[in-house]
Amino acid sequence: MYGLTRYKLFFLLPGLIVLLAIILFPLVFTIRVSFSGWDAMTPGLGWIGGNNYGRLLADGRFWQSLGRLGMIASTAVALEYALGFALALLVWRQIRFRRVVRVLFLIPMMTTPVVMAVIWRTIFHESLGPVNDFVALFGIPPVQWLTSPEWATFVVILVDVWQWTPFMFLLLLAGLLSLPREPLLAAAIDGAGPIRAFLNVTFPAMAPISVGAIIIRLIEASKIMETVYVVTSGGPGTSTETSSYYIFIRGLRDFQIGYAAALSITYLVIMIVLLTIIAKVLTKTLVKAEG
């Protein structure tokens, strides 16, 4: 109205155009590249049809990396949620405590993941790191933290938990603080113990924010690769290799650009579909009261 259109566009367009230029073009381009045989020997957009996608279907290493990513991401996020919730419940009522503890708990989230991963790697070093020194106190022989597949996976998850539990803590604490007091009071008057009050009142009320926090974390965790790169380099063998890391190796190490593009697109589609399904299922099962 009244020439409002030009004002509307003044606000929206700059950001939209920039984002379209920086994101949408690369995405479309990647799709095109995924149908080419672009590699170090023959760079260019030479059309090879769906060959890359055919190759990908038979690529066991890719599918294994997806399964591994699913395992690492879901374990890490589940742990972060449980720990973050527990910590939030711990400091929820302590007003004086809360501020100090909150900043302290916040710190890991503010640190550069890859830099901390470097530190973690020294901590879990088999002969020179403090962790094996510590377990030796209990008479446990040195553990091959970074060179056995199981322990390497454990370390990757632990580093992620250290880094991102604060995020869960922060969101869930904010959620707890915004809860109305009346239902809890009512539960207390009805004689419900703390555990029952939590299960019947607090937890259901926190369901929406829980779902939100879990989804955000799953999205971020599904991209995990930097920690892997620094801590284990995907090893030993390919035992901690996640999808992002595998695509990175194929694309920017082996320079199989076309194939990596096909992997990227497939990975992206699978992620979007899976995350959408997970979001729907979580919302349905957790947020019953509103359904």
Partner: protein, 356 residues
């Protein structure tokens, strides 16, 4: 020399906010827009202000198309029911904000600031921030900001509804005083409260579901509501409506309750009607229709009884404080001389009680 509104429609999605509004408004004076919540009052005001574009229809002032003029050049003031002030500015800066935007000289600004500050008694508050003021003070600041500038019309959207009772009465009287010597601007005052409309006087426009139900001088509309909808909107508590009939020289409502046909119903043909009586016209005692008190409220100096009668519910309003317990049996007198008669089918007014 009028504002001419023609067939104004505003829709949002599946909702219709204004549904073909056609009105002529004077260039000065007070026009009260009445209607329940969501009747379209706010939307109408926003269209007048230029904050909302209508989907169709025209708005002209002396043949000049106002819809082509954006809000920031329309020379209008608006006061909301929420107290809207600029939180980051002091009261003084709030009030002079529109003047500075209009590029007035420092002299003129000081003069106008002095005038409204005096008018609304804001002298002591000029340095404060809006957040440090009470609701009534905040609304005064908002009012000052809309009065300080040179406007063609002033829109007030239920400006008193968020204030407590006492402040509301006080500010209402101030508003009436300000509007009376308010020069040649048109004031459009939206409210749900018939009392405010009566106090503002001037023209009243009754809105219901986005349509104009009735428009005219407020006393005329009060005396002769065009139909049951108008009657309900323009009386608080809403007018009582009961089914009845006129037959064989008798007026009957319910079973066994009746009287002679009152004078002003003489010319009505026999048949079924909807009779209306204002809550303030229902009396206790008298001939004694039995009723049970379902709810008794005391609002300030008036008492409101919600009553259950054999043929329906009724509301009674009387001056003074008269305690009643729920479940009390009372006897009612419904003076037929105060009855309105509406057509049973069209619900349009067919006869109204004479003016005293």
């Amino acid at each position: 020399m009028t504002y001419r509104i023609n067939n104004l429609c505003v829709r949002q999605g599946t909702e219709t906010h204004l549904d073909g509004i056609t009105l002529d408004l004077p260039l000065s004076g007070v026009v009260t827009v009445m209607g329940r919540t969501l009747a379209g009052k706010t939307t109408l005001l926003k269209v007048l202000a230029g904050l909302q574009a209508p989907d169709s229809g025209t708005l002209e002032r002396d043949g000049r198309n106002l819809l082509a003029i954006p809000a920031w050049r329309r020379r209008v003031g608006m006061v909301y029911q929420q107290f809207v002030n600029y939180p980051h500015l002091s009261v003084r800066e709030n009030i002079v904000f529109p003047l500075k935007r209009a590029g007035l000289s420092a002299d003129a600004i000081a003069r106008k600031l002095g005038y409204v500050t005096e008018l609304l008694g804001l002298g002591e508050l000029l340095r404060r921030r809006p957040a440090e003021l009470s609701g009534g003070q905040q609304q005064r600041v908002a009012l000052a900001r809309s009065l300080v500038k040179d406007t063609e019309f002033l829109l007030l959207d239920e400006p008193l509804v968020s204030l407590d009772y006492k402040l509301r009465e006080q500010l209402r009287d101030e508003l009436r005083r300000i509007f009376r010597d308010g020069g040649d601007r048109l004031v459009v005052y939206a409210t749900t409260d018939p009392l405010e409309a009566m106090i503002m006087q001037g023209q009243v426009i009754l809105l219901h579901e986005g349509k104009v139900v009735q428009a005219g001088d407020c006393r005329d509309v009060y005396r002769r509501p065009a139909n049951t909808t108008a009657a309900t909107i323009f009386s608080d508590p809403p007018m009582n409506l009961v089914k009845g009939e006129i037959a064989d020289g008798h007026l009957r409502i319910g079973v066994g309750v009746g009287s002679d046909v009152p004078l002003h119903f003489r010319d009505l043909p026999r048949g079924a009607y909807l009779f209306g009586i204002r809550a303030s016209d229902v009396e206790l005692g008298g001939s004694g229709i039995g009723a049970r008190v379902a709810l008794a409220e005391i609002n300030g100096s008036t008492t409101v009884l919600h009553l259950e009668l054999p043929f329906g519910d009724m509301v009674l309003l009387m001056e003074g404080v008269h305690p009643h317990a729920i479940g009390d049996q009372v006897a009612l007198n419904l003076p037929p001389s105060r009855f309105f008669a509406f057509d049973a089918d069209s619900q349009n007014l067919v006869a109204a009680p004479p003016v005293d």
